[in-house]
Amino acid sequence: MRARTARTLLGALAIVIALVWVFPVYWMVNSSLLPNVTLQSFIPTFLPFGGSLNNFTEALADGEFYAALGMSVSITLIAVFFCIIFAFLGAVAISRFRFRGRKSFIIAVLIVQMLPAEGLFIAQYKMVASVHLLDSVIGVSVIYIAAVVPFTIWMLRGFVAGVPADLEEAAMVDGLSRFGAFMRITFPLLAPGLVASGVYAFLQAWNEFTVALVLLPSEAAQTLPLWLRGFVQASATRETDWGQVMAASTLVAVPVIVFFLLVQGRLTSGLVSGAVKG
C-alpha cells in the first residue's frame, strides 16, 4: 500500500515536471496566437482564448521571411545532399576495408567532430572572404558540410557494419558483381541509416547560428535563425511585437520539431553508444 502511494506521488511529480519543462514551448505557441494588445498587458494571458492567426500573417507580410526561408532551404539542401554522399562513401571505406591509415583517419574524424565553430570562425571568415564568397550560399554550405560530415560518417559506419558482409558475398557467389552486390543487397538495407543521417544533417544546417552570423554579414542574405535574431535585436531599442516574434519562432521551430521526433532515438544512441553497449 505504501509503495503504491509513493508510486502515485512520483507519477504526479513526473507530470508536474513535464508541464514545467514544456512550458516555454507552450508559451511560444500561446503567445503567437494572442493579439499584441493582450500581450502588452502587465498580466500574462495563459490560455489563447480569442486567439487568431493574425501574428502569422503579419510576420509573413514583409518578404524577409521568404527570402530567409529561401536562403535556409538552399543551404540546407546542398549541405544535406553532399554530406550524405561524402559520408556514405567514407563510412563504406572505414567499415568495409582495412587499410593503412584507417585508424588515423578515424581519430582525425573524431577530433574534427569535437572542434567548436567558435574556435574556427575567425579563420573560416577570412578564408571565405578571400575567395569572395561572403553572403553566398556556397560559402556557408562548404563549412556546414565539413562540420557535419565527421559525425555523419561515424553514424553511418554503424549502419554499414550492421549489414553482414556475408550477404554480399552470397550475392557475388550467385553471379553479381561486387558493385552490383553492394547496390542490390547492402544499399537498400542502409536506407534507414541514410534517412537518419540526412535528418541529422538537416537539423544541424537548419538551426546553425554561429557560422551563419559570421559568413552572412549582409542583411539581404540571412538564414532563418539570423532573421529571427533580428527581431530580438530590435527589441532592445523599440517596443517588441512579441506576438509576431513568437509566430516567427513557431514557424522556424515546427519543421525542426517534426523531423527531430523522427530520429531522436538514433541520435541518442549514436552519441553514447560506446558507453551503453559496454
Partner: protein, 302 residues
C-alpha cells in the same frame, strides 16, 4: 570483413572512397585551422586588413594573452559557467531518468514527450521565447515570481547585472541540455537487470544500497560520457550569450570565450589575438575530448 577485400584493388578503393570526405574537411576545417595557427603567431590587426604584410611575432600573442587580466577573467567565467551548468544538468538529468524508471507508463510517456519537445526546439527560437519569458515588464517569470508572497520581482531586470545574466543563460542551457542527459541515462538504466536488483532486495539491500551498489556502477560509463560532452558543449555557448546580449548589454562583463573571440575578430579586427584565443579554446576542447574519443575508438575495435 577482410574476406570481401579484393587483393588487387585493396590498396586503392578505400582511399578513393575517402577523397570527397577528406577534401571537404581539408577545405572547411584543415585550411582554416592551419591559417589560424600561423596567424596566431603574427601581428595581424587593422593595418594587415588593408594589405600591410603581417610580421611574425611567434609567441608574442600568447604571451600577451597570458598576461591579459581581461582574458583571464573571461576564461575563469567560462570555466565556472561551464562546470556549474554541466553539473546541474547532469544531476537534474539523472534524477529525471530515475524518475522515469520509477513511475508508471503514462506519467513516463508524458514526461518523455515534454522533454523531447524542449530538446527539439531550435536554439534561436528557444532564445526568443526565453527572452520573452524573462522580459522585465511583461515576462511571465517576473509575474509568477511576484505572486509569491514577500517576493518583489516586478520589473526586475535579469539582464542588468552579470550574475543574474549568467544565471538566466545557465537556466536556458540547462533546459535545453537536460533532455539528452535524461534520455541517455534512462537508456543506461534500462540495461540494469531486474533480476539482479530483485536478488539484492531479497538479500536485504536497502533502496539506497541498491542505488549506490548496483545501479550507479552500471550506469557510470554512460554518465561519464554524457558529462564530458556537456562540459565540452557548455564551454562553447555562443548563440545563447549573443542573443541575451542583444536583449541586454553588450559590455565585456557579459562575455564568455565565444563572444570574446567574436568581438576580438569583428570589432577590434585583431585577428592575431583572436586566433590565439581560438587556439586556446581548441586546445582545451581536444584535451577534454580525448577520453570521449578513446571510448568511441574502443567501440570501433569491437
Amino acid at each position: 570483413m577482410t574476406a570481401l577485400v579484393d587483393r588487387r584493388r585493396k590498396n586503392r578503393v578505400p582511399y578513393l572512397l575517402l577523397i570527397p570526405a577528406i577534401g571537404i574537411l581539408v577545405i572547411g576545417m584543415g585550411y582554416p585551422l592551419i591559417w589560424q595557427v600561423i596567424t596566431s603567431m603574427q601581428e595581424y590587426g587593422l593595418q594587415q586588413q588593408f594589405g600591410k604584410p603581417a610580421p611574425f611575432v611567434f609567441l608574442d600573442n600568447y604571451l600577451e594573452l597570458a598576461t591579459n587580466p581581461q582574458l583571464w577573467a573571461v576564461v575563469g567565467k567560462s570555466i565556472a559557467f561551464c562546470l556549474i551548468t554541466a553539473v546541474v544538468t547532469l544531476a537534474v538529468g539523472v534524477l529525471f531518468a530515475l524518475l522515469m524508471n520509477a513511475v508508471g507508463r503514462t506519467p513516463r510517456i508524458i514526461l518523455q514527450i515534454s522533454l523531447l519537445l524542449a530538446w527539439s526546439m531550435p536554439v534561436v527560437a528557444a532564445m526568443t521565447v526565453w527572452i520573452w519569458l524573462f522580459d522585465r515588464r511583461r515576462g511571465a517569470v517576473n509575474y509568477l515570481l511576484d505572486m509569491i508572497p514577500g517576493v518583489d520581482m516586478n520589473r526586475f531586470n535579469w539582464l542588468e547585472s552579470p550574475t543574474t545574466f549568467f544565471i538566466v543563460a545557465s537556466i536556458i542551457v540547462i533546459w535545453m541540455s537536460v533532455p539528452f542527459v535524461a534520455f541517455s541515462s534512462f537508456a543506461g538504466l534500462t540495461q540494469v537487470s531486474e533480476e539482479v536488483l530483485e536478488a539484492a532486495q531479497l538479500d536485504g539491500a536497502s533502496a539506497r544500497q541498491r542505488f549506490f551498489g548496483i545501479i550507479l556502477p552500471m550506469i557510470k560509463p554512460v554518465i561519464a560520457i554524457v558529462f564530458l560532452l556537456q562540459i565540452i558543449w557548455d564551454l562553447r555557448v555562443f548563440t545563447q550569450i549573443t542573443m541575451l546580449q542583444d536583449a541586454g548589454s553588450k559590455s565585456s562583463d557579459f562575455d564568455l570565450l565565444g563572444t570574446y573571440i567574436y568581438k576580438l575578430g569583428t570589432k577590434s579586427q585583431d585577428f592575431g589575438m583572436a586566433s590565439a584565443v581560438s587556439i586556446l579554446v581548441l586546445a582545451i576542447t581536444i584535451a577534454l575530448s580525448w577520453f570521449y574519443i578513446r571510448s568511441l575508438l574502443k567501440e570501433d575495435e569491437q
